[in-house]
Symmetry: none
Subunit: 223 residues, 2 copies
DNA sequence: AAATTTCGTCATAATTTTGTCACAATAATT
DNA sequence: AATTATTGTGACAAAATTATGACGAAATTT
């Protein structure tokens, strides 16, 4: 079963570990960050389904982090606030926070809020098996069959294909692809994408031309 | 068939006998202790697979007992708490409690929790005999034959393989493996997993390449 | 207490992935 | 048709990741 990925951003280690443990017991896959910079880094490199974010943190506070995240993503965010001060909440909803939990909170409450938010945002943990012509994708196994043959896709190739599949029939610019697959702090050339596309098409065999070139823009995966 | 041994530590005799009865009906072998000192004594002399531990007990309370146990063992522990007070839980996870049941509880709930925890910690009672090519696994005897030859797997190797078998055809990240096999609070390097995989593959002989490397992620046991 | 086994880390080797470049091919524009 | 812009592709070296053997510490057994 595919696990839901939750990023916990909390500088206080003890609390972070505690939250992690509870989330783990609930079957979630947990990523940890002890500060904002680390959080953004993880967020860019991992597929995160929900973020639990402490407001009060050294260097980069919760609002700044969420503002950064919101530049590229609509991932659900739950904020942990120390006080129940209303102005905190107001400020938070402004920068796109989805829900709040006020410290001190019970873990039960936090779990309930997380589950509710996941439900609200339709995040599901399905071990999907998809089929496109002779192309079979098993996300749980992270395995792809082409014509029944097990085909090894490199991480970049796999992530790229997943991005295409998630956004089938949509023209995706090289920049979009770079942001999502490489992370927004990637500095290389636009045309790196072309090379990965080349390799993808080759490995996908006859299904390779599901990846259509959208001249002047980027590519599109057709279903 | 090998029976799972459960130690029930509860000073109130009536409740203890009740729990014992239900556990017995579920096919478990039950050891009883009415106080902490007795519990530790039994724990040292018997092979115990799981402990059900009441918090409130005269002389030595549940936390003290679990702290003692944790000095030498990672056996799963379920705590019975009188109140649902969260601070109880916080304290408990600190001393290594795996799960909680709040009084009053239904026996059905307790049984469910126990079974879930046993599953989570890979304690199995079934005298299952599995076969993967020339690899035979007898979980009851905790024995593995490779090509008919009895092969000794170290605890880590065995646990790791069991985790793989339970999650066959699933890509498992190093972190997931660490969490399950090493325990949640393990602090070492990710790549410790690699070393165990190396040893596993070697001992598994020709079946060794059932453990596939999933680049950028971890490993997958293929059936 | 001694012997044995297990375990984690490290260094190094082997392998795979990845980005870039140069040039070819193709499409769009003049 | 020629020119220009954009994309396709093979080759290659650097970078990243994984495999593996060795070693000593820790744990377990004798």
């Amino acid at each position: 079963m595919y696990q839901i990925n939750i990023l916990v951003v909390e500088d206080e280690e003890k609390l972070r570990k505690l939250i992690k443990k509870y989330l783990f017991l609930e079957g979630f896959h947990v990523h940890e960050a002890s500060n904002g910079v680390e959080a953004l880094k993880i967020f860019d490199t991992e597929t995160i389904d929900l973020v639990v974010l402490d407001v009060m943190m050294p260097f980069k506070n919760g609002y700044e982090v969420s503002k950064e995240i919101r530049k590229t993503s609509q991932v659900p965010i739950i904020m942990l606030t120390a006080r129940s001060a209303e102005d905190d909440k107001l400020q938070g909803f402004d920068v796109g926070i989805d829900d709040y939990v006020t410290k001190p909170f019970s873990t039960r409450e936090l779990m309930a809020r997380i589950k509710a938010l996941l439900k609200r945002t339709n995040v599901t943990s399905t071990n999907e098996k998809m089929q496109f012509g002779v192309l079979s994708i098993d996300t749980g196994a992270r395995r792809i069959l082409v014509d029944g043959e097990d085909m090894t896709f490199s991480p970049k190739e796999y992530d790229c294909l997943m991005y295409f599949v998630d956004n089938a029939n949509q023209a995706l610019s090289r920049e979009q692809i770079l942001n999502r697959v490489w992370g927004f702090d990637y500095f290389g050339d636009d045309r790196t994408v072309d090379t990965v596309i080349k390799r993808l098409r080759k490995k996908m065999g006859v299904e390779g031309d599901r990846i259509q070139t959208v001249r002047g823009v980027g590519y599109r995966f057709e279903v």
